[in-house]
Symmetry: C2
Subunit: 345 residues, 2 copies
């Protein structure tokens, strides 16, 4: 899922997202959308779909992660979280209840439970307290969700989130707790926050053995192309990450042959197209030398080209993975791909 | 002509320039392209058309204006201009001869004479000296141009530039000097540099009475929609200006009904489309409230949307002007349009 924090996937037109990248769902972020444009504008607009003109599904992050990574003077208690806006310092209070209400107003098709994303590293005690808070909040999210109706006439699904840091016992408890909620999909949070990849994979494997197999399993905030394939091998169905767009803005391109840092001098007079195997129009329309020039000159078009390229590549990779699963050739394909994907070209 | 200083019209894909905006020619800038990517890369690429993938005509500014507006420690003498790069402080020397050579390498379809853009205000004496330097340089440009061949197998045209500040006698002398060169097109420089619009129009009228009517007359660096229509009435055929794209990046939209400052609070919950009469996809796909949100959040997509909108509007306005000239209804149409175009909505 391309990340569209403030209702826009950065540097990409909605038309490109749909026609050139073929994203089937994008993300929005509750914390950002609540602050700007705010619930009043979103309600008047008829929800985020109407506001940004994206007529395919949207999933919203609950804002828990942003409160702890962006906001100032955050204070947490059992009731909820107070914080100051990173934009204007204004004070706000998020609770499991009002975060459900806000996501009802945003009108996301999939709305996320309000959780605490346990920081890494955390002691067992810290991780336990944090996980238990997330579980308590989940009960309140589910109650509020069940008591309220969608605003705009279409169904919304609530996904709960497994926490538990890198402690197998906690992850097991959390996954069991989440599984019994019976939600339409389930998420794994608190990974890709600084732990080694091997610990992430171990936790994903453990949790996926418990979460229902017939419901989508969504690994939040992950990751590199290799991370995606390894986690698919462990049963993950959905991902989101700022990586393809954020790294695009720094000139990093992901391709089926490896990673290109387009700033490098070596691309200065490479007049071959950006990615001869790439699925989007930018791959065949622009050359590496031209894109390097744009990046070096800090031109907006650089971010536009690289973002479309990276997103189209990630979506292509996911479609390939799906087809290989269907064909029964996923594991051998995955093993050959991961060798190439992390190479620096 | 949309301005593509460094080989990119800022925030706009080449595909959009062609298919959505329908620009028939764009600008590049000799000063910028000489510094980055440099003539070596451009020559290896096979010229700017190959480098940036734009297969319709390109015109290049000679760099005279940028040396005086951007570069540091510029020193001018009869031979040429030394200056330090605004990027890395490196020292360079531009002469009428090497500016022709550089534009040959860039491969622009229309290349501009190397001139001194007389600053405003200037005394009669300053303006005279400056104009005479431009005329001397022009002779050397023409010689070098005639002695050299295009690099890439297609024809290039050299346009000389009228100077003379706001002094009718100087403008007359300069226009007569330029007219006798017999170039395939002629430009008017040194206007829209701070003088009142009425002085600009007076100079355009005077110069256009002298420049050949059967060759395109190009007014450099102009301007607002009203400026364009008034100058068309005075016989101008070509314009370039950063205004539609630069002001787009500040949230200023030009429409057939007037000017929208999309940052204004009043657009916060205006969910009508950006411009119901607008010719491009952004006009009907995005709302004013959404674009305002993007501008307020400093999102890249804001620059993308507003730039496509403004350029599409300017090109539409020029097509309308042409059609009204053909139909013999230009003056009445122009008079009704200028009343609306400068209104603030």
């Amino acid at each position: 899922m391309p990340v569209g924090t403030a209702g826009t996937v950065k540097a990409v037109h909605q038309r490109e997202l749909k026609e050139d990248i073929d994203a089937s769902i994008i993300l929005g972020n509750t914390y950002h959308l609540y602050l700007r444009p705010g619930t009043s504008v979103l309600k008047s607009a008829g929800g985020l779909h109407k506001f940004n003109g994206w007529d395919r599904p949207i999933l919203t992050d609950s804002g828990g992660y942003q409160i702890f990574s962006l906001a100032a003077q955050r204070k947490l208690n059992a009731e909820g979280a107070t914080f100051k806006s990173h934009i204007d310092g204004s004070k706000h209070f998020f609770t499991p209840e009002n975060v459900m209400d806000i996501q009802r107003i945003i009108g996301a098709d999939i709305i996320m439970a309000f959780d605490e994303c346990t920081p890494y590293p955390a002691t067992v005690k810290e991780a336990t307290i944090s996980m238990e808070l997330t579980h308590q909040w989940l009960k309140r999210c589910v109650s509020r969700f069940n008591e309220t109706d969608p605003w705009y006439g279409y169904n919304q699904s609530l996904f709960p989130i497994v926490q538990g840091s890198v402690y197998p016992e906690l992850r097991k408890r959390s996954a069991e707790f989440i599984a019994q909620v019976g939600a339409e999909g389930n998420a794994i949070g608190g990974l890709s926050v600084g732990e080694p990849a091997e610990e992430m994979y171990a936790m994903t494997a453990l949790v996926n053995a418990i979460l229902p197999k017939d419901k989508p399993r969504y690994l939040m905030g992950v990751g590199t192309p290799v991370n995606l394939l390894e986690n698919i091998a462990l049963g993950v169905d959905m991902f989101d990450c700022v990586l393809p767009t954020r790294n695009a803005r720094h000139g990093l391109l992901y391709t089926s042959e490896g990673i290109i840092n387009i700033r490098n001098e070596k691309w200065k007079d490479d007049f071959t197209v950006i990615d001869p195997n790439g699925p989007s129009f930018v791959d065949s329309q622009y050359t590496k030398a031209y894109l390097r020039h744009l990046v070096v000159c800090n031109e907006i078009l650089a971010a536009q080209i690289a973002s479309v390229h990276n997103l189209a590549f990630f979506i292509w990779l996911m479609k390939e993975a799906r087809q290989h699963i269907i064909d029964g050739t996923f594991m051998s394909w995955k093993n050959s791909m991961v060798k190439k994907l992390a190479q620096k070209l």
